[in-house]
Symmetry: C2
Amino acid sequence: MMKIAIDAMGGDNAPSAIVEGALDAHREEGIESVLVGEPERIEAELKRLGAPKDTFDIRAASQVIGMGESPTKSVKSKPDSSMRVALQLVKDDEAQAVFSAGDTGGAFATGLAVLQRMPGVQRPAIAALIPTLKGFSVMLDVGANLTPRAQHLFQFGVMGAVYTEEVFKKPAPTVGLLNVGGEDSKGTDVLKSVHEIFVKSDLNFVGNVEGSTIFQGGTDVIVCDGFAGNVALKVSESLSEMLTTLLREQIVGSMRSKIGYMFLQNGLKSMRQRTDYSEYGAAPLLGLGGICTIGHGRSNSKAVKNAIRTTASIVKVDLNAKIQTEIDKHISIQRSGDVGWRLWNQIRTGIFYEKVTEEEKKSGDEEDEGNPPS
Amino acid sequence: MMKIAIDAMGGDNAPSAIVEGALDAHREEGIESVLVGEPERIEAELKRLGAPKDTFDIRAASQVIGMGESPTKSVKSKPDSSMRVALQLVKDDEAQAVFSAGDTGGAFATGLAVLQRMPGVQRPAIAALIPTLKGFSVMLDVGANLTPRAQHLFQFGVMGAVYTEEVFKKPAPTVGLLNVGGEDSKGTDVLKSVHEIFVKSDLNFVGNVEGSTIFQGGTDVIVCDGFAGNVALKVSESLSEMLTTLLREQIVGSMRSKIGYMFLQNGLKSMRQRTDYSEYGAAPLLGLGGICTIGHGRSNSKAVKNAIRTTASIVKVDLNAKIQTEIDKHISIQRSGDVGWRLWNQIRTGIFYEKVTEEEKKSGDEEDEGNPPS
């Protein structure tokens, strides 16, 4: 039976919003969870919410990774953090996925330390949903890799496409590259390289996408480095809020507007829903050796419930096995198809054999399987 | 007398919107312009608009840099482009500034070729205005430098602060660094370096700014690389449009909403004005050896008029002289204050003297005056 390990202590509204969201997901969708954190506080919340005894397993964790804490430090200094204990449940096959609304950097670093990378994946990435006029797009990476290389970005595209196809049931999803112009020649050297790799690949690549066309929709997967993705995501969130505030100011300013607002209320509400993060909830860390999703730090119970539902649907489609298949396929295509790569492989296994393997042993962090020399 | 050279052929609505905007700026604000482009087409527009003969000087240019054309190629292949001829007028002191709504890359590359960099400035930058809840912020760079170094970013901050102080009359403007988190330790190595330089400087540096807080306002100058800045600017533009479209959809959908919209109209209009690029118009290319501003490719006549007014106000405050003073001051502070730099200087002028100067002659593009070794 599927169980989701939940970091009950992560997020601005933890543990109350987290426990409440988990309870709603259980009541409404029948999703089983293990709540990880301070047992007394978790039990107090469950009691407050009137949950029957033994609704959830509870696992004790004595530490919490705080918001804004140094991710690498927290991995080392907090061996008993709720995030780490929750991840360990997945590692030990006691749960099939983890959800946390805690610090993104902390979740990512701890996830990488406990679950490690999926074989062949060079850099895991955070995939977020952004609302568009036609529904939404998957954008990755939105913060884990600030300066990825071309091959990393290509793998983001592969993983994002599998995620979109499997979880949102969009066959042959379109993949675009976030850039400063539509022409192939635009952007940094890294973007020009990955553009070429995408064109050669069997992905449904639609070329460069500009910041100005993201919200028009039409591109299912938007690939970008973690810095630009993070800025784009946060800017769009913040702008929605600004526009709502401006509208409210206008409304408070005049009686005429107030009357108008009363009539418009339903329309505004439905508009807000389409751009509201709590409707979407969870962003998966794609490319880890286990399923791990994160939620907005400000998640309320509704956002947590939706996030848990999304996490369960990722487990149901066996996403990681499907990503693994595609990653393996692309590595083998690149290996067999690229003459340059074959030559390089010969050189590696020939003259420099010992030297290269020694270096490879050292650089566990820089595993570059299937990365043709550029 | 001040004259502004106008690229009459640049932009999606050229020459009609450009000529009309120039005429409105002349009629309403008394601003003198030289219109550059195909004389017959420009004269036809003036006639259509009922402008008296000899309202403007007209300079013939036989070529136009198209939207999306390769900037470096267009510099070489189009010696008689309207952009280039307009810039030459500034170079020859026949005009005090240039305005173009043509391709940003083309304008920037041609501007750099004709006007060159201001002495001491390593990378000129495009400074755009973005609307916030408290008014607006100046963001730079928004597309000229995709991968700037720390010292380049620092100079963006210096130039942006002078621009904000002189043109928008904000004393001691606050300067922030666009980053993926508020903590000092966040971001790429380049961002960490420039963070340190800003902290040591006498600028009113407020630390890192996240995409999520930009629209709250409060930071007068937001420094970023051209890639992230371009994405942020275009995302915000595009999102405003999406929200307006969504709102309109809701309104068309129900009678109740339609009535509401009628009452709200004034409020919505004033909200749109605050986020409408045509209210702001011009983005200066800061750090060139002459004043050059660019407008949105989609500029209508109102946007062009506002852009020309902004350009005139930049000329009036003698912005470039003020930027030059500040750039010189910071270079001399860094030179005298940094012991490491002094040592480096001694080594340069000592042992490696001849070699270094030879290299400096070659690398006109990589002028690194005042750049302490990092």
